[in-house]
C-alpha cells in the first residue's frame, strides 16, 4: 500500500517538474534572445555608419563631434614652438585638436604627413595612422601587426578612411568595451599593471581612451616577411617600463637610446612628447578618486525615457550640468572661474619655460657659430633635452592643467630650471669665445620663428595642395567605390586647415 502512495507522489512530482522544466527552458530561450545584442557584420565592423542602425543615439551623438570646427593654429598662437621643434614635423604645422570626426582628415591635411605621390613616398611611417581610425585595428587584423607597422604612411591611404569611432572601443557583437590594438596590453604588462581584461569596468572606461591619449614612440623592430626578406617595423610602444611618469619615460628612452629628432638650430637630441593624457590624469585628484574619462567626457544623458552615454566627446565645461554638477554643488560660474585660474597658472609657467628654451636653443647655435665644440656643449644640450622633455610632457596632452595641475606645474618648474641652467652655462661658453652681449633673434611671430627653424612653408603648402588634388582624391574615390565609407559621412570633413579654407 505504501508503494502505491510513493508511486502517486512521484508521478505527481514528475508531472509538476516537467511543467517547471519546460517553463524554465522557454524562459531561458527568451532571456538569451533578449540579451543578444545586434551583431555588426564582420566586414563592416570598422565602418561607423554600420553601427548607426542599432545604436542610433550613440551614433548621432558621436557624429556631433563635428561641431566646433575652428582650426586654431598653435604655431601662430605660440611661435616659440617652431624654434623648439626645428628640424621636426611639428615645426611645419601644429593645430589645436578637433573632434574625433576630423581625425583622419586632419591627419591627411597636416603638413607633417607631407605630400606623397604614391604608396611608397612621403616622410612618415604607417604608425602615424594608429590613433586615427577603426580601420587601423581592421588592418592590423588583416595584415598582421608587423606588416601594418612597416612602410610609409601612404601605404594605407586607400584603407584608412573612417575617423575614430565605434570599433576602436567596442566589440561588434556585444558592444562591450574592448581594445583592439596589441600595444596597450603589452605596455600595461611592462608597467606591471593589470591588462585590459583584468581591469575593472571603471578602469576600462579609462583604458579605451588610453589606446591613444598616452605617450608613445615608434620602436624599430626587425622581422622577416614570408618571402624571407628583412623588414623593419616601426611599432607603437608606450615607455611604461619604469612607471607612468615623465621621469620614468625619460629613463626608459635614455636606456634604449631613443631620440625623436635633432634640433636643427642647436643640434640637441630631443625627445618629443606625444600626449600623455592618461598618465597625467592618473596623478590628478579626479584620477586618484577613481573618476573615469567617460564620467566627465561622456556623461549620461537622457533622450525621452532612454538613458545613454553621450558620445560627443568634448570639453566637459560644455556639459557641466551633466558632468561636474553630479558631484560638485557649487555654481557653474564659480567652477568655471576656478578652472580658468588653473589655466592661467599653467600658461604663465609654460610661456616662461618656452621662452627660456627657445633662447637656449638659439644661444647654443650662436656658440656653435663662434667655435664652441660638441664637448663644451654636451652638458648644455643634455640640460636642454631634459628641459624640453618636461615642458612638452606638461603641455602636450589635452588639458593637463586641469587633469593634473600639481604635476603639470611641477614639470614646468623643473623644466624651466633646466633651461635656465643651460642658459647660465651658455653665458660662460659664449664669453670664452668673446661674445658678451648676445641676445637671441626675434621669434615672436610664426613667420620669424619658422624662418629660424628653416621651414619652407610655401613649398610645403604647394606640394600638399597638389597631393590633395591627386593622391588624396584618388584614395577617397577608391574608398567610396569599395563602400568603406559614404559620401554623406565625409561631406563636412575637409573644409578647413591652417593653410586653406573652403
Amino acid at each position: 500500500m505504501k508503494y502505491k502512495y510513493l508511486l502517486i507522489v512521484s508521478v505527481v512530482a514528475i508531472g509538476a517538474m516537467i511543467f517547471l522544466a519546460s517553463s524554465i527552458k522557454g524562459r531561458e530561450k527568451e532571456r538569451i534572445e533578449i540579451n543578444q545584442g545586434p551583431e555588426i557584420a564582420h566586414q563592416d565592423r570598422a565602418k561607423n555608419e554600420a553601427w548607426e542602425r542599432y545604436y542610433p543615439r550613440q551614433y548621432s551623438s558621436w557624429k556631433k563631434t563635428k561641431e566646433g570646427t575652428d582650426i586654431k593654429d598653435m604655431l601662430k598662437a605660440k611661435p616659440q614652438l617652431a624654434v623648439l621643434w626645428a628640424g621636426y614635423g611639428f615645426a611645419k604645422d601644429y593645430n589645436a585638436p578637433r573632434g574625433h570626426y576630423y581625425a583622419v582628415q586632419d591627419n591627411r591635411n597636416s603638413l607633417r604627413t607631407g605630400a606623397p605621390v604614391d604608396s611608397k613616398t612621403g616622410p612618415m611611417p604607417t604608425a602615424c595612422w594608429t590613433c586615427k581610425s577603426p580601420d587601423v585595428p581592421r588592418m592590423i587584423e588583416e595584415d598582421g601587426e608587423l606588416e601594418f607597422f612597416t612602410g610609409k604612411w601612404a601605404k594605407y591611404g586607400t584603407e584608412i578612411v573612417n575617423p575614430i569611432g565605434c570599433y576602436n572601443c567596442h566589440n561588434p557583437k556585444t558592444a562591450e568595451l574592448e581594445v583592439h590594438v596589441p600595444y596597450l596590453d603589452r605596455s600595461l604588462k611592462a608597467a606591471g599593471l593589470p591588462t585590459f581584461e583584468e581591469s575593472t569596468y571603471q578602469e576600462k572606461r579609462n583604458l579605451v581612451c588610453a589606446q591613444c591619449h598616452v605617450e608613445y614612440y615608434f620602436k624599430k623592430t626587425e622581422w622577416q616577411d614570408e618571402n624571407g626578406n628583412k623588414q623593419v617595423a616601426k611599432v607603437v610602444t608606450l615607455p611604461w617600463k619604469y612607471g607612468l611618469t615623465a621621469e620614468g619615460a625619460e629613463k626608459y628612452y635614455d636606456e634604449v637610446g631613443h631620440t625623436d629628432f635633432k634640433n636643427k638650430i642647436s643640434g640637441t637630441p630631443i625627445l618629443k612628447t606625444q600626449h600623455p593624457g592618461y598618465e597625467l590624469f592618473k596623478t590628478g585628484i579626479h584620477g586618484q578618486k577613481g573618476v573615469s574619462c567617460a564620467d566627465c567626457h561622456m556623461p549620461y544623458t537622457q533622450d525621452g525615457a532612454v538613458k545613454y552615454s553621450d558620445h560627443q566627446l568634448q570639453n566637459p565645461l560644455n556639459t557641466m550640468d551633466r558632468s561636474c554638477m553630479n558631484c560638485h554643488r557649487e555654481s557653474e560660474k564659480k567652477l568655471k572661474e576656478i578652472v580658468a585660474r588653473k589655466y592661467e597658472r599653467k600658461d604663465q609657467l609654460a610661456e616662461l619655460t618656452m621662452d627660456n628654451l627657445a633662447k637656449a636653443h638659439l644661444e647654443t647655435a650662436k656658440a656653435m657659430e663662434v667655435g664652441a665644440t660638441d664637448e663644451e656643449l654636451k652638458v648644455i644640450r643634455s640640460d636642454i633635452r631634459k628641459s624640453q622633455w618636461r615642458w612638452d610632457y606638461a603641455v602636450a596632452s589635452h588639458a593637463s592643467f586641469f587633469h593634473a595641475p600639481e604635476e603639470t606645474l611641477r614639470l614646468l618648474a623643473v623644466g624651466n630650471e633646466y633651461a635656465m641652467k643651460a642658459r647660465i652655462k651658455l653665458v660662460s661658453v659664449l664669453a670664452k669665445y668673446g661674445v658678451m652681449n648676445y641676445s637671441a633673434p626675434d621669434f615672436s611671430t610664426k613667420e620669424s620663428a619658422q624662418a629660424l627653424a628653416g621651414v619652407p612653408l610655401e613649398k610645403l603648402v604647394k606640394a600638399k595642395l597638389e597631393f590633395k588634388k591627386t593622391l588624396e582624391a584618388e584614395w577617397i574615390k577608391q574608398a567610396i567605390a569599395r563602400k568603406l565609407i559614404s559620401n554623406e559621412t565625409l561631406k563636412d570633413a575637409d573644409k578647413e586647415s591652417s593653410y586653406f579654407k573652403k
Partner: protein, 176 residues
C-alpha cells in the same frame, strides 16, 4: 498488479523524480540564489533594467543587490526574507503575473529603508533621532511617512526605469 511489480515501478519513479529534481536544480541555477552575486538577480531577464541602472550608479562600487534588499540583523530574518521573496519572484515569473514597471513591495521598502540608515549611519543619525517628529520610516500613511528615496529620487536606479529605458546596456551581457 503484483506487489513486487508495484514496488519496482514506484521505486524507479521515485528515482526518476530525484534525478529530475537534480536537473531542475541545475537548470534553474538554484544554487546561485544562495550567493550574494548581483548577477544572480538577472538569471532571468525581468530585472535587466534594475541591474543596468544600479551598475551605472554610484552605489555599484560598494553595494550589491543584497546589501540593500535583504535584512542584516541575523541569519533567520535574512533567510526568511530570501525564502518569501524567492517564492514571490518565482511565482510571478512562472505565471507571468508581474507588471513591466516593477515597484518595490511595502515589506521590501521597510528593509531598504533600514539599510539606507544602517550604512549611512554617521550622516543620518540626527535625522533618525528626530524621526518620530519629521520622518516616519515605517508608516507611509502618516503625514510624516517618508522614506529616504522620497527625496533622493534617483538613488540608485535612476528616475526612469521601465523595460525600454536601458536598451543595449552592457550589464545584462555579463551573463552569457
Amino acid at each position: 498488479m503484483k506487489e513486487s511489480n508495484l514496488k519496482k515501478i514506484s521505486i524507479s519513479a521515485f528515482f526518476i523524480a530525484i534525478v529530475f529534481f537534480g536537473y531542475l536544480v541545475y537548470a534553474s541555477k538554484m544554487s546561485s540564489y544562495l550567493s550574494d552575486d548581483p548577477k544572480a538577480c538577472i538569471n532571468c531577464h525581468v530585472m535587466n533594467t534594475q541591474y543596468a541602472t544600479w551598475q551605472h550608479s554610484s552605489h555599484a562600487r560598494d553595494a550589491r543587490c543584497v546589501d540593500c534588499h535583504l535584512p542584516h540583523d541575523g541569519f533567520f530574518r535574512k533567510y526568511k526574507t530570501k525564502a518569501i521573496d524567492g517564492w514571490k519572484h518565482s511565482k510571478a515569473f512562472t505565471l507571468n503575473s508581474y507588471d513591466p514597471a516593477i515597484k518595490i513591495s511595502k515589506e521590501g521598502a521597510v528593509i531598504v529603508q533600514e539599510n539606507c540608515v544602517s550604512c549611512h549611519k554617521s550622516i543620518v543619525s540626527n535625522i533618525v533621532i528626530n524621526a518620530t517628529k519629521y520622518h516616519n520610516f515605517k508608516d507611509p500613511e502618516l503625514i510624516t511617512g517618508r522614506k529616504c528615496w522620497d527625496c533622493h529620487k534617483t538613488v540608485p536606479h535612476g528616475k526612469v526605469r521601465a523595460t525600454t529605458t536601458t536598451p543595449g546596456n552592457i550589464g545584462v551581457k555579463e551573463v552569457k
